[in-house]
Symmetry: C4
Subunit: 283 residues, 4 copies
């Protein structure tokens, strides 16, 4: 994880760059993703909801963060590690749960989980991931967390049990998509599950042959956590794709989940302080 930091310190910028394919900053990676991925997929990755106003505000707020450095300390062995939910993490961030890692790159979830393991930071597998809970645990290892979308009770229980059995350390319950965002790029691209094979989408794929070739060889991605359970079907996957969650999700469901899951339980998407207090009371 601290490759970059160590390279900086040792002045090995050019070596680091070589390993990164000459990408110098986030924007370089962004441009390479844009070249490689079909527009449809790239827009899903980069787009935000509602004029992307909130997205821009987030970037701006991050930019305005400033560090106050302390000088004259021995920084021969710098450490960015923090304690997060009672566990030491070698950097103050983690790889968050994003749904379509396996669409951006074949077995993207396993690649990311391995990178996280190497860097000693957590990787959060999402519910609609293209690799199953068990597969990621087996092939990548490291500190794994599981993100849960509550679609229906039975499915949730199965998923939670799977995560527990495979040794996941934390459960992340997403509560901020009871209504899906109005993602305008996806609407214009008609990006949906089940996938809509329009001429425009096919042409988009053909224009990005390296991406297409990877997926033709590996098979199109599926939502592995749903496929392997008995109640899986196209309808649930579609519900998941358009983030059509159990809109009745409430404090009672949280209590039930708390009873089911013995480890750390994180509620993702809380903005209101009273809600935060409510969560704290549940433990």
């Amino acid at each position: 994880m601290l490759d970059w930091f160590r390279c900086l310190q040792e002045g090995r910028g050019s070596e680091y760059l070589k390993s990164m394919g000459r990408a110098i900053n986030v924007d370089d990676f962004r441009r390479r993703a844009q070249r490689r991925l079909p527009t449809l997929v790239f827009d899903y990755l980069e787009g935000g909801a509602e004029d992307e106003y909130c997205l821009r505000r987030n970037v701006e707020v991050l930019r305005n963060l400033r560090f106050l450095p302390k000088r004259l300390r021995d920084v021969t062995r710098p450490s960015c590690s923090i304690e997060l939910f009672g566990r030491t993490c070698s950097a103050p961030f983690l790889i968050g749960p994003t749904g379509l890692n396996g669409v951006f790159w074949p077995n993207g979830n396993i690649a990311l989980a391995r990178a996280a393991a190497r860097a000693s930071i957590p990787f959060v597998l999402s519910t609609p991931a293209q690799n199953s809970i068990e597969e990621v645990a087996e092939k990548a290892g490291g500190e794994l967390w599981f993100q849960l979308y509550d679609i229906n009770r039975k499915l949730s229980e199965n998923l939670v049990e799977g995560a527990l059995r495979s040794g996941y350390k934390a459960l992340v319950l997403t509560v901020d998509v009871t209504v899906n965002g109005w993602r305008e790029r996806d609407l214009r691209n008609k990006f949906a599950v089940p996938f809509h094979y329009s001429w425009k989408a096919i042409w988009d794929g053909l224009r990005h042959p390296s991406w297409l070739w990877q997926f033709l060889r590996q098979g199109m991605p599926v939502m592995a956590n749903l496929v392997t359970k008995e109640e899986s079907n196209a309808e649930t996957a579609a519900a998941l794709a358009r983030r059509q969650m159990n809109s009745a999700l409430s404090w009672k469901d949280l209590r039930d989940l708390r009873a089911l899951w013995p480890h750390t339980l994180i509620v993702k998407g809380v903005l209101d302080s009273y809600d935060a207090i409510g969560c704290a009371k549940q433990g």
Copy 2:
């Protein structure tokens, strides 16, 4: 009214879009209006006064509004309804009084009033509307309010009586155009009543045939509330068009109006807190 919201929740974005002619956001509707309407008319619709500085500030202020969502509540049956002037309204907004609805679309006031009725929100008919008070009440129904420009006493009394007779629920007295704004686009376009048939304006109309055809078939719009009264004449209409109001309008007039109108009376355009207190004292 909540069509959009329900579609979002049920993931029926594409169905909703089809019904909206593929317009995804307000800007899409704006572009379609720009294509359809003569420049003259579009500029009236979109333009603001004095370098449009205030217009831009309004947009900016609206953009900076942020919601604080509460999570873990059952939102299976979401409701945006609020109580407004003692009446329940299914959404926290209404269709405000705009003068030239009937120029944008034939019988535009009736179309809007019907949409409002379907959505259970109020529609406010303006004084210079192209459909009369009686016609809108009869053809659209729903919760109707009437907006009053005070040009002269006799006309105002006739209009208020008409609104009362037709069952309008609230009267909105506009007090912020005693002097008209310096609308620069309209000045450049020579947009005025009586309409000025310049070659430029005629060419503008010819370039927008779908709009022109509608109005050739239906007849050019008139200010229906003035035409049907005896004292109507071109001069009053012209005064109205350039918002040349009774500049002597004062607290006494408000008191008289209060005596005349038994239902809710709203004073539109108050910015100063002392003025607001004054209005409250009038009831």
Copy 3:
């Protein structure tokens, strides 16, 4: 002065516009000035000092001013008049002292003073004006003020006596140009007094024939207040043109001037509060 306001109220926008040569806002006038004036002269008129950063900030600050209107008052006879230095002024502004009015338009000072007289607002004649103190008083009349640059004692006394004799009502002492601003456009254009007849400047003049013709007919502008006094000479005019003032100007000079001038005395260019208190003490 209130022509514009009255036209607005009476809806005579188009009449007003015709009288203004179809200029709708300040930017229209700006563009017309740019077309008519040689670049050299226009840049002097529009340019600011030091990257024009302060100029932009001034515009921005003015834009951010907002009015808080009061409603429901009789505005049949609106009045913007204020009391300024003990005298009623029909609008809350005046025509400030700008040095080269006579370069922008032949006898520009007289034209502006007449406009001010018609509008019942003060006109401030500048020291380097192209019309003399006496000529403006005689040909324009109205409320006249005189702006004084202190170059040397003898000249100042002569000017002050002239203003007193001609019935000027206030004296405006400029104290903020003891060092001239770094006006980058003028430096690039080599705009200076005595005028530098470069090929570029001559070409600039030839490309603006209507301006050139006016000045060929009327004679090139001179600094009339210096020409008519005995000690006038090219050197003083040059000093004035580059605002090379008496840099030793201090509180003692102000006291002397106070003794010399019986009417209102305004010190222009004070920003520091202690300086303001000092001025107040002088009366």
Copy 4:
């Protein structure tokens, strides 16, 4: 130093400009540097780290500084002098330590030190300078300070002794580059020491013949302070070039340095208030 200021006051703008090669503001000098220097070198001079976001913020903050002038003071002999670390300085700024002055112009450090001496302001020589401590003292004179990068103890001691022997008045210890910035332009240009002779870099040099010719005649710049010491070697120079400092630099090192250096000791790069207090305690 006050040439510019005096020229302003005496209205000799055009004379001043001639001496400056017609450069009117900083941006003019910037553009001339851009024309003269190879892209590689110019980017080093102008570029910042990490998206250059901090660089832009610095410019913005400087722009927002405003002066509050006091009026009616005799400014015939203006003075900008301030007392800095117990010494009078004729202007409230100095020439800071920049590493590659000798790459921008042959013997750039001597030229800058002479200009500083003429203007009676300090010049700070940097550790990686292309002219040695002794050479600058001998050829330029004036108020000289020395900036120290702590790479290893023995080198630091040698440099400090050299500065003391040559009569330098202050020592500036840089403590904010224990880790080098992520300078993206330099990374893209592969700007590094030892210099990397890529085809692109050679082409870059050929396209800037006046710069190239100067350096072909004078010899390529070296880090003179390292070359003349026995332990100098390419490795140290490379470490210096990529600012690979002694990352263990701490309060103990500062104490040792304090004991070694009898004159003013300045710690450069402190942002935290507790660090500032710590420095003050060291004297």
